[in-house]
Amino acid sequence: MESQANKYSIPLHLNENSSNGPSNSIYRKGFAKNFLKEAGMERDSVQTTPIVSFPQEEVIHHRNLNKNTQGVSHSLILDEWEGCITDVKEDTFIAKLYKQTQSESDLEIIEGEFEIRSVPEQDRHLIKEGVLFYWMIGREVKETTQIIHGDTIIFRRMPSWKGFDINNSSAITDEFFNALSGKY
């Protein structure tokens, strides 16, 4: 039977210099689980398969994670980016990354290269140009005061294109087409 931890199994890069953080699988899975829980993400929202209908598209809100959780294991997201894969190479993929921020003046776009092996095998089929994901960098503070630093990739929900036929016009399309052409 699949364990709860496995359900939340997310690849994690542990900093080699992390204080006290043993890089065994239990800690890795625990980190990711807490990480997602603190981020307000239920299991459904980290499914990597496309969702079927709208409006379930969401932005994850987790701005107030730095709460006082003394004595309790908790996670803190230090930085969060939304990525769009722009190129896939043999061992790596390139992505444009948009910093998740509320302020337009803080708009920040970077480009990064990720190792494909950092994505779990069951998600690697998703590594294609145009696919979106979240990249979160954070730390987990254990109740024993151990601190584990790491980052994780979570593929985004995608809109389902099933049933969408671009060749069939719709009332909305016709309305916009006529309005934008000056045919009111």
Partner: protein, 372 residues
């Protein structure tokens, strides 16, 4: 943060009514152009943003000059929907209420409009905002124009987009795209729409870029060629077709916004022989993505073999993301070899009075003149 530094107070001085001005903004990953055709009449072509500056570059600059944008901006042209040309243009459209809006006629198609206003992607607001800048900006423009009962002027070869007689006779004419490519352009977009449940969340503009709107500006005795991102490839002769049919071109231009960031694919010898004077003043907005950089050193060599007056709206330099200083964040960014795409402000400003012969050039921020 603003455009201004203690050494660049001159940026605040607006052009005189009898002065023509051309500004090109370069953000490293972004290009925008602003033209003053005289008598406080302005034309905006494409849009970009700078890191650390609120609002689109053109709007911010006009505000710096204390220009009231609602009536002063007469025409806004979105040459194509690549996200390095479109970022912030919907905000400009909303701020310039009396401006005409022009876009490539290649997108005057129900399939494209359905993609923008009535597709799974169009309803996924958070997907649109970042990874689909073109669709997001067009979606906002379409809704705004519809609510204002305004329409789009679709640009195609040899079409007058705007005309003014207020000071100098001014025409803004589109020289491309040609209707021969419209079906091909739409097919290129449709081919990206996934079948079934394939998780694709981003739709891009057609490549190579054969739908771009090249503009010809005729203001008094001045002629300006804005090459947009029009490319020439073995499969589609973007510039060749344009050069075959150029009825509005009465004399050659001495100012050229080099096509497609100065790349080889934006090059055609006929541009230099048929459309430009000898030794024209040339401006390029550089571009970077996927480790690629335009213009390449070869591109610059090729361009300076044509002109002694080449300006770059942005000079690339080694820099690291200005994000959090937290050391673990920095380590993670280093591990993915993070490079900032959206960079600091760079602007080339060219001005002259209509009765003068020489352009006065100024480089602000990271912009430079290329030394031959």
């Amino acid at each position: 943060m603003s455009f201004l530094t203690p050494y660049q107070e001159s940026i605040k001085i607006p052009p005189e009514p009898n002065e023509i001005e051309v500004c090109i903004f370069g953000a490293g990953f972004g290009e925008g152009i602003l033209i003053h055709v005289g008598n406080n009449e302005w034309i905006v072509v494409d849009s970009c943003r700078f890191s650390g500056i609120n609002g689109p570059a053109a709007l911010h600059y006009l505000q710096t000059l204390n220009i009231e944008t609602t009536h002063a901006v007469k025409l806004i042209v979105a040459t194509h929907w690549d996200d390095d040309h479109i970022r912030g243009i919907s905000e400009i459209v909303k701020a310039c209420g009396s401006a005409k809006i022009a876009m490539s006629a290649a997108i005057n198609d129900k399939k494209f409009i359905k993609l923008v206003v009535d597709s799974p992607l169009s309803k996924a607001v958070s997907l649109r905002q970042r990874a689909n800048t073109g669709i997001s900006e067009f979606n906002q423009i379409f809704h705004h124009l519809k609510s204002q009962s305004k329409h789009i002027d679709y640009a195609l070869n040899n079409k007058m987009l705007w005309k003014s007689e207020s000071l100098n006779s001014t025409d803004i004419v589109s020289l491309s795209p040609n209707s021969q490519i419209f079906e091909k352009a739409i097919q290129s977009i449709i081919s990206q729409i996934p079948q079934g449940n394939v998780p694709v969340g981003s739709i891009k503009a057609p490549k190579p870029n054969y739908t771009s709107v090249v503009l010809w500006v005729r203001a008094g005795e001045e002629r300006i060629l804005l090459g947009a991102d029009l490319e020439e490839s073995s499969h589609y002769k973007g510039w060749s077709i344009l050069l075959e049919d150029k009825m509005f071109i009465d004399k050659k231009s001495n100012l050229y916004k080099v096509a497609h960031h100065g790349s080889k694919t934006g090059e055609h010898s006929g541009i230099w022989t048929d459309l430009l004077t000898e030794n024209p003043l040339c401006i390029i907005a550089p571009w970077t993505l996927g480790g690629n950089l335009l213009p390449t050193p070869d591109d610059i060599q090729r361009t300076v073999s044509r002109t002694d007056n080449l300006y770059l709206a942005h000079q690339f330099s080694e820099s690291t993301p200005s994000t959090s200083k937290e050391k673990h964040v920095k380590r993670a960014l280093e591990r993915i070899k993070a490079k900032p795409l959206l960079k600091e402000f760079g602007m080339v400003r060219l001005r002259k009075k209509f009765n003068e012969t020489e352009w006065k050039s100024e480089c602000f921020g990271s912009a430079i003149k290329v030394n031959i």
